[in-house]
Symmetry: C2
Subunit: 385 residues, 2 copies
């Protein structure tokens, strides 16, 4: 065993002890059983029920968004948010190459084309400076906005994603979105609890989205939400995600093509209980960061990612970055740690390396290419510290 992987296992053991550790498991120590039992007893487990309303209100209160609309998962939330942001079939949407595939899929479902941009080393999220340079070269004014001069497609939206819970440079991206007439939609799937200059991520764009998948900071089994300050957009989001059925005592009139995307009440019941514990989860995750920082301080060729200046990260996934000099040991580290029962994983495959997105337009991606060879996510569950 080469020294670095073994040293990383040792460092992890000082924090996690001798047992196995999953990457991120949910924690149900609050009112989960009670609320879910109550939900079943009420018989309202599906598309109508008080927990959905309550969960939406709790999310709005917590994030500071005027409205939250609970849906079936984060992908569905992003698809609908992009549609409401005006993304149309044939548009291009700027998204990070370093993201989970759902970001690109949501664009694709609308008939639009993802256009990949680079990340910043400091935030792991979209870097506005090189993206501005790129747009200077490829964007030309057309119809009140901009189009990609090589493809002729309208550039309609910009979708930053807050990687592993670390807020990206929203000021820079908002300025860029303004200058290029791009609607900013935040993919905050990973960043519930993360704040940028004191304000919750997902509330800076015209719309933002959250995810409550089982591996997220809080879970509803499967679930997501759309955030917006615009009441009209929120009402429209609710309409679209409930099959666009008009209110009527008995008639079934659907006035546009909607989706069956509403979060079931059963899942919202779990979410209400989880959200009550979010402050505790976040505090535990920050303690874990402190302990990992201490454990990895002696290792010279690796660095634990910390929240960017001016930001408060939720530390959804704790992340180690290998120095370039030892990047070739990434797979050895992954093998040895996973063999030891300490679940680690690399970043996602960059979007433009995936077969279905290989031919999409993209900016130069030197930082994302470097990051993806060096990132290792560590066991990160709430309750580990």
């Amino acid at each position: 065993m080469s020294p670095l992987p073994a040293a990383i296992v040792d460092a992890l053991r000082t924090v996690l002890g001798d047992g196995p550790a999953p990457l991120h498991e949910p924690r149900f120590q609050g009112n989960e059983q009670r609320y879910v039992q109550d939900c079943i007893a009420s018989t309202f487990v599906s598309s109508v029920g008080a927990y959905v309303d309550r969960f939406e209100q709790q999310l709005a209160d917590y994030t500071g968004a005027r409205r939250a609309v609970a849906v079936v998962n984060g992908t569905a939330a992003l698809q609908v948010a992009l549609r409401l942001a005006g993304v149309q079939s044939g548009d291009e949407v700027l998204i990070p190459a370093l993201s989970f595939v759902a970001t690109a899929n949501a664009v694709h479902y609308l008939g639009a084309v993802p256009h990949f941009a680079d990340s910043a080393e400091a935030t792991l999220g979209l870097d506005p400076a090189p993206l501005r340079d790129w747009l200077k070269g490829i964007a030309e004014p057309a119809g009140g906005g901009y189009r990609h001069r090589h493809t002729g497609r309208r550039l309609s939206a910009l979708v930053p994603m807050h990687t592993f819970g670390h807020p990206c440079d929203l000021d820079g991206l908002l300025s860029l979105a303004h200058d290029y007439r791009l609607t900013l939609v935040e993919d905050a799937a990973e960043s519930l609890g993360s704040r940028y200059h004191g304000r919750h991520t997902g509330t800076f764009g015209r719309l933002g989205i959250l995810s409550f998948n089982g591996n997220k900071t809080i879970t509803t089994g499967g679930g997501g939400a759309i955030l917006t300050d615009d009441e009209r957009l929120a009402d429209h989001a609710k309409h679209l995600t409930t099959t666009a059925k008009r209110q009527h005592r008995w008639e079934y009139v659907h006035d546009e093509i909607g989706y069956n995307f509403r979060m079931p009440n059963l899942n919202a019941a779990l979410g209400c209980a989880q959200l009550e514990q979010l402050p505790d989860f976040l505090a535990s995750k920050r303690r874990l960061t402190v302990r990992y920082l201490d454990a990895f301080a002696r290792l010279e060729s690796v660095r634990l990612i910390q929240e960017p200046p001016g930001c408060e990260s939720n530390y959804w996934l704790q992340t180690l970055i290998l120095d370039e000099a030892v990047a070739d040991q990434r797979d050895a580290v992954l093998t040895v740690t996973n063999d030891a029962g300490l679940m680690t994983r690399p970043a996602w495959t960059l979007m433009h390396r995936l077969a279905p997105y290989r031919d999409c337009p993209r900016a130069p991606l030197p930082v994302a290419e470097s990051l993806v060879r060096r990132i290792i996510n560590l066991p990160s569950s709430a309750g580990l510290a």
Copy 2:
């Protein structure tokens, strides 16, 4: 109050008693609380867990399909089933005009165009005879299959839906599908428990789908399933509905554009308990039919829908049909019954009357047009009789 609405309320009261009655509410008197509690205690509430596997196996065993793949809802199931059936963007897909909007939406999500066909009075589902006549006129051979000569679009699939749980004429439709090289995909969203010549609906086409929405015979909160006898299609369905991620110890490689459509384990836990009670639910619903038949026997201008010959219906929604002579009293009946706390509803608005589908191709729809003016669904929950 005119005599007919009052007589219908009286008839309903003889069956349902004095209290209010919803159209269809779920019934949780089995292992629901136990399985859901166990699921939460296991922490596996989301995209991995034993209840999903168990629910899929139970569904396969019950329906006789070789495989069942549990997904997030019936709409998602139909979208993926149609994709697996080879439906492509720009195709036309034959579906009943008399259906819930999800049938048309699933076609639309794939970039295909619904083409509406008429129903049979006896089954409420697609009528193969007039559809054959229609296709004789508008279909022309092209590329090994048929295309619609007026639109130039390929006719790729035929989607019968078993309305309110009554099996439609599958023999006639299978023969038609064979002759016109249409892939048959069954929308069995409403017909869990319904059999055609002894075999479960949803298992006749290349693929079939089920729904477990809150208003269905059994519920998972929100949920659906894809049924197929083709192992390769089932594996592909599982792959597509889990973001098309290849199995790997840590790499994130998605080899095609998939969906986040997997049923959460929490919802599957509810489903396992519900499925155990399905035989009791079906027996109760059949008892209710007998009681409604008796109660409405004296009313000359209405008729309770019964299962078609050779079929066993699940009687998901009990359905009254008004004679043509009293069709103009439908809204009065709806008003008076709902005012009395006895929830009734009409059939859906026919698909070609909805704004987003107004311009889609359609066959003549005289029977559907007539049925939609005369159908009234009655309180139908399991446990009422």
